[in-house]
Amino acid sequence: MLEIKNLHANVNGKEILKGVDLTVEAGTVHAIMGPNGSGKSTLSYVLAGREGYEVTQGSVTYKGRDLLAMNVDERAAAGVFLAFQYPIEIPGVTTMTFLKTALNAQRKARGEDELDAPRFLKLVREKSKPLNVSDDMLKRALNVGFSGGEKKRAEILQMALLEPSLAILDETDSGLDIDALKVVAEGVNSLRSPERAMIVITHYQRLLDYIVPDVVHVLSKGRIVRTGGKELAGELERTGYAEFAA
């Protein structure tokens, strides 16, 4: 699904990623853990194609295509989804309108027919329910005045609706209390499938108690320094990142 080779990337002229190698197979969940400033968020932005994140070396192959040659919305339409650590407010645009615009833009880019209002509405209702997303929330402007939990649920709702092949969750647990965390984790787990790969980026093990990964990587100073099974997360929780931070 995804093959990252020797990836180097700069932000504002400073090298943040210094040779990342990572292979993610369809149907697997990979966790990327690491101390603050290790390059976790940078990796997610580079994969999504954000401006200002300049790749200087290496390659990223996604479903056999050169991901780095695609622009942001092409990557999205090809099934790359990034759940934001801090979802962005879009004043005046209701969640419903945003969801419909996004879904139809992707369908159009893939040459599929756009969903009309009734079909779309039915789909949103179906996807909203398990995530406790109310009609009221769908009518409010996206992320404007949303609580931390609402923002993250809105992110997962978008993911459920857009059905990406590769979902990258950037610090999805930040700002969530335990109940909200459970709802979000259940939402994510229900999207696990043999066709879909996930990269879960987190600082803490807590999230991984609920979204159990197949593989855990430790990112430090722009490189993956250790890879292991799900038990690696528990080990890190006990020992901390001290050995990697130095």
Binding site: A48, R50, E51, G52, N71, V72, D73, R75, A76, A77, F81, L82, F84, P87, I88, E89, I90, P91, G92, V93, T97, F98, T101, A102, L103, A105, Q106, A109, A141, Q158, L162
Partner: protein, 484 residues
């Protein structure tokens, strides 16, 4: 019967191809000599078979206009206009009819397609000859019958002068006097045609009145004159313009709109203006110098202006309300979008004369490219106006770094009981908003349109439903090429 005649005229227009050849030479000779003089005005008045009082009114305006100077205070600049180098009467102005849509500028067709305009309407808008049978004619007919049943008068201005002189005499110039300002005075002297609406007491106009259906009016846009009167307890919603750009060879437009609301009456006036803005280098485009004013003459009356301005090279426009009647209310909702080298200086005036009068101003200015976008507004409270309320919100959104937005609010209060609120913001579309939208698969231009539509939501909601949907698409189209 006026209605029948108008329908016949409509059909003639629509089926113009058939009649065109017989008329062509006549039309040419019906053009007034170039330039502006008393003779030109006499010529126009005679062509329209106007009564003497109308001619005298025009001449008075003309003589006054000669003594006036062009206003220079707006934040717009354009080369001097030579008023003697223009034709002031060329009606009925038949545009050269085209044989089929194949002859129409593909750019125009592309825009129609994006707006989702039906093929037949595309043909009319682009000036293509259409067979006599088409939907709008029957729409126009049923529409006329329905209006006549409730006593609503909705007709071309020139027809009103002939058939309802008592109403025209009573109200014409009573809101915008012929001496009001340079362009209004020019309009008073040479106005071509426009719409006249009268809603009798207690009548709620059963449908939205729209210039869109009045195909026979399409060629009279240059110096349009509109007069709308809502008698006691009446209600009317009037839609001006349409979202589709039309072919138009006149560069200078100076319209005047007067609204009069008597006791308990309400007028809702919505405009979508999408005239040629000039090309991406700022060449060409319409100069739009409009005077629009409503008079809440009666107690508890209400006038509401909603405008979506996306076209014209230069826009100079301040739809205003005179709140004369006690407890009357004025509203102004505006979206002004400027791109490339467009210049907009627009806003409103709320003149509070009566007691307990209230007004609300929501203005959304969006500037892109190299454009300049100014909000200029006045809220004025007179000495005797007790308990006045005003709320003003002016928001500007900048796209790119070469454009500019300006807010010039004037507030004058001569009564200590007034409560006036003013809020203003200026923001930019942020990189992170664009990235977020694009990460969800929305291409950049569509993302800009989405964000701008969100920014304009408070105003778009004021538009009648169908208009709002088209206006939303128009917002996106006007901003094409503004990013990247």
């Amino acid at each position: 019967m006026a209605a029948v005649r108008e329908t016949v005229e409509s059909v003639d227009q629509v089926a113009g191809e058939k009649y065109k050849y017989g008329f062509t030479t006549d039309i040419e000779s019906e053009r007034a000599p170039i330039g502006l003089s008393e003779d030109t005005i006499r010529f126009i008045s005679a062509k329209k078979e106007e009564p003497d009082w109308m001619l005298q009114w025009r001449l008075d305006a003309y003589r006054r206009w000669l003594t006036m100077e062009e206003p220079k205070w707006a934040k717009v600049s354009y080369p001097p206009i030579d008023f003697q180098d223009a034709y002031y009467y060329a009606a009925p102005k038949q545009k050269a009819k085209l044989e089929s849509l194949d002859e129409v500028d593909p750019k125009l067709l592309e825009t129609y397609k994006k707006l989702g305009i039906p093929l037949v309407e595309q043909q009319i808008l682009a000036g293509v000859a259409v067979d006599a049978v088409f939907d709008s004619v029957s729409v126009a007919t049923t529409f006329k019958t329905k209006l006549a049943e409730v006593g609503v008068i909705f007709c071309p201005f020139s027809e009103a002068v002939r058939e309802h002189p008592e109403l025209v005499k009573k109200y014409l110039g009573s809101v915008v006097p012929s001496s009001d300002n340079f362009y209004a005075t020019l309009n008073s002297a040479v106005f071509s045609d426009g719409s006249f609406v009268y809603i009798p007491p207690g009548v709620r106009c059963p449908m939205e009145l729209s210039t869109y259906f009045r195909i026979n009016e399409k060629q009279t846009g240059q110096f349009e004159r509109t007069l709308i009167i809502a008698d006691k307890g009446a209600y009317v919603s009037y839609l001006e313009g349409c979202t589709a750009p039309q072919r138009d060879e006149n560069q200078l437009h100076a319209a005047v709109v007067e609204l009069i609301a008597l006791d308990d009456a309400e007028i809702k006036y919505s405009t979508v203006q999408n005239w040629f803005p000039g090309d991406e280098n700022g060449k060409g485009g319409i100069y739009n110098f409009v005077t629009k004013r409503g008079d809440c003459r009666g107690a508890r009356s209400k006038i509401s202006w909603t405008q979506v301005e996306t076209g014209s090279a230069v826009t100079w426009k301040y739809p205003s309300c005179i709140l004369r009647g006690d407890d009357s209310r004025g509203e102004f909702y505006s979206i002004a979008i400027s791109n490339n080298y467009q210049q907009v200086d627009s806003g409103t005036k709320m003149i509070h004369l009566g007691r307990n009068t209230s007004s609300r101003i929501i203005s959304k200015g969006i500037a892109a490219g190299f454009s300049s976008n100014a909000y200029r507004g006045l809220v004025s409270v007179h000495k005797k106006a007790e308990n006045v309320r005003n709320f003003t919100q002016c928001d500007s959104l900048l796209i790119g770094s070469k454009c500019s937005a300006h807010t010039v609010p004037y507030i004058e209060s001569k009564n200590p009981t007034a409560i006036l609120e003013h809020e203003a913001t200026t923001s930019k579309i942020s990189e992170e908003q664009l990235f977020y939208c694009r990460q969800r698969g929305v291409p950049e231009e569509e993302a800009v349109a989405l964000i701008v539509n969100g920014f304009c939501r408070d105003v778009l909601q004021q538009l009648p439903m169908e208009f709002a949907v088209e206006a939303q698409k128009l917002v996106g189209i006007s901003l094409e090429g503004s990013v990247g």
